[in-house]
């Protein structure tokens, strides 16, 4: 883990097909507080384009995209 970022909520969407991981992130952002940081765990290839594209459109902050064993971490901060 990146020790400089404190994760408020981990969204384990491993094994879910597209668009499950993104929709789980959208749900968490909808209910979360401004400033909170989410770590989405996804094994779906589509997330690599969908999640960064959505975060940019929704004007939140994509802090990090980091490959792990068979899945990827998407660390996103809700900024508005």
């Amino acid at each position: 883990m990146n020790n400089t970022v404190q994760i408020d909520k981990t969204i384990d969407a491993r094994g879910m097909a597209c668009p499950g991981p993104l929709m789980n992130l959208i749900g968490a952002i909808r209910q979360g507080e401004v400033g909170q940081t989410f770590d989405v765990l996804s094994s779906d290839e589509g997330s690599k384009t969908d999640i960064p594209a959505w975060v940019a459109k929704a004007k939140h902050e994509l802090i990090e995209v980091r490959p792990d064993a068979g899945f990827t971490h998407f660390i996103v901060r809700k900024v508005r």
Binding site: P19, I26, R30, D50, A53, W54, K57, A58
Partner: protein, 378 residues
Amino acid sequence: MTNDVLIIGGGVGGTIVANLVAKEAGDRARVTLVDSTGMHVYQPGFLYVAVGQEKPENLSREESRLLRSEVKLVVDQATLVRTDDHKVVLKSGKTLRYDELVLATGSRIVPEEVPGAAGAHNFYSMEGATRLHRALEQFTGGTIVIGVAGIPYKCPPAPVEFVFLLDDYLRARRLREKSQIKLLSPLNRAFTIEATSKLVQPILAERGIELTGFFNVETVDPINKTVTSLEGETVGYDLLVLVPPHRGAKLIEDSKLGDARGWIPVDKNTLKHTEHPDIWALGDATNIPISKSGSVAHYEASVAADEIVAALKGEAPPAHVYDGKVMCFLETGQGQATTIRFDYDHPPVSPNPSHLWHWAKALFNKTYWHTVPQGRLP
């Protein structure tokens, strides 16, 4: 020994399970189906009601006429499942015992979860589709916006089908040149399925239907006639059609048998409840991340029925499991349609739209009553 097999919900999944278990289990089961209305409604027809291509009265039949004579139909509302003593409480105050329970309780729409959306149109109920049709009849031109206020919702391609049928409708009424159709999608494509989205997006463009991606409807301002997304965009409308948020049945939430949104956690292959080995769930009611559609309920029903019949006969669970099969039609307007087919191991594929698939869908809609509820189609 005769077991009590109790099925809650007389939609496509519940009806097929009831008929198949009654047929296969013989004296081993007393099969009872509880439905709150006693009417079976063919929900894929709502789209056609909205655009004036179908009459509401053609979309419902008495459930009793679709069930085998061995199945007892109870028209009442199930209000609570008590897993501790294997009973289901009904609104009338009666209780029904079960040895095996099938929850085919579907989904419900909750437009009240979107601030300002109470007056928005939808095609997710007979009343909604009828009201939308009346509004379209009075429409004289302007901007029609179609938005989605939450995933999952029933029939993922329905908003896309609706805009194509709406385009046809407005052309037939010579209103198309005075109108704009805007489809707001929660994803950066037409709908959830990527391959089919790629197929339909050029057709949307060709018909002049504007697609806006990543628009997750958050609020509606009915005074100023605008809809605003979670992503921070605002779009104006003259007529708003919203796919409302969906939840599992209230019965499931009240009985604490589902997740936070009332979807029932089941094994994605056996459809058995993850915590209760004598409860199965199918169709819209489950938490399986697959389309909420009649097609899924249909394919799942024979799996649930086989599982229950094997349990009644004391046999090993059947090798036949639900493999995630989905097959549905997608109208692309101008008398053409495509299909979407996939399962857990095979990504969706769609052929190029053709008149053939439109006629196949029309034929299926007409013959449904004589084939699907009885379990005659595999």
